[in-house]
Symmetry: C2
Subunit: 126 residues, 2 copies
């Protein structure tokens, strides 16, 4: 698992960590069932506080992406097959995307602009 | 300007405020050139700390959506015409959307799912 923390940014370190783990799962670097490093070892590797890693892991757990068990630690959950998304997940994704889409509308983006951007992102995450 | 703050959520109040102002601009409730309420009066109306409103206004300023002038206060900037988006804004939007799109990919979303969700959001923001 390759994580790169950028200290000079507005994005909190735990959020950077969460996002990079999600991207790692999205692009297949981190597989379903795989164990994540222990909080202690990842914190030491990245030179960050254990609390930061802990906060990120709990955020991932809350999103249903990983499970945290007392003895065995954090492991990545099983995911849907491509295209088999539940209505609840679509609703959740709508909530998640809404602020950014609203901002894009203010900048004058139209449907085709959003499509282009999402296609670009999907390509980069492959 | 109708703002509704939800106290029992993970989303910080200043972020809720920022998002609702952006949605107000996106759906045309708040027009280009319009003045936003003073920090003091909006804080009093919403029953929140002045620091919270201030933080939200500065976030909107940083995004280039409003201007804050010492005497006249905050006012909404002029925007692009629909579809006239600069390459810089497309790059910025790519960064903004990337974490949510990565999360969607993990849930199994495909391009047509993203399209459906964005169309839903655009419809709701009209």
């Amino acid at each position: 698992m390759f994580i790169q923390i950028e200290p000079n940014t507005d994005v909190p370190i735990y959020t950077q960590l969460t996002q990079q783990i999600i991207e790692g799962i999205a692009n297949g670097d981190i597989k379903s069932g795989e164990s994540l490093p222990s909080v202690r070892s990842l914190a030491a590797d990245l030179g960050v506080n254990m609390h930061t890693v802990n906060k990120s892991y709990h955020e991932l757990e809350k999103k249903g992406l990983i499970s945290i068990l007392p003895k065995s630690g954090a492991s990545v959950n099983a995911f849907n097959e491509k295209g088999k998304v539940s209505p609840q997940q679509l609703d959740y994704m709508e909530k998640l995307l809404r602020p950014a889409v609203a901002e894009g509308i203010v900048y004058g983006l139209e449907m085709n602009d959003f499509e282009e951007i999402i296609q670009r992102i999907i390509k980069k995450l492959q």
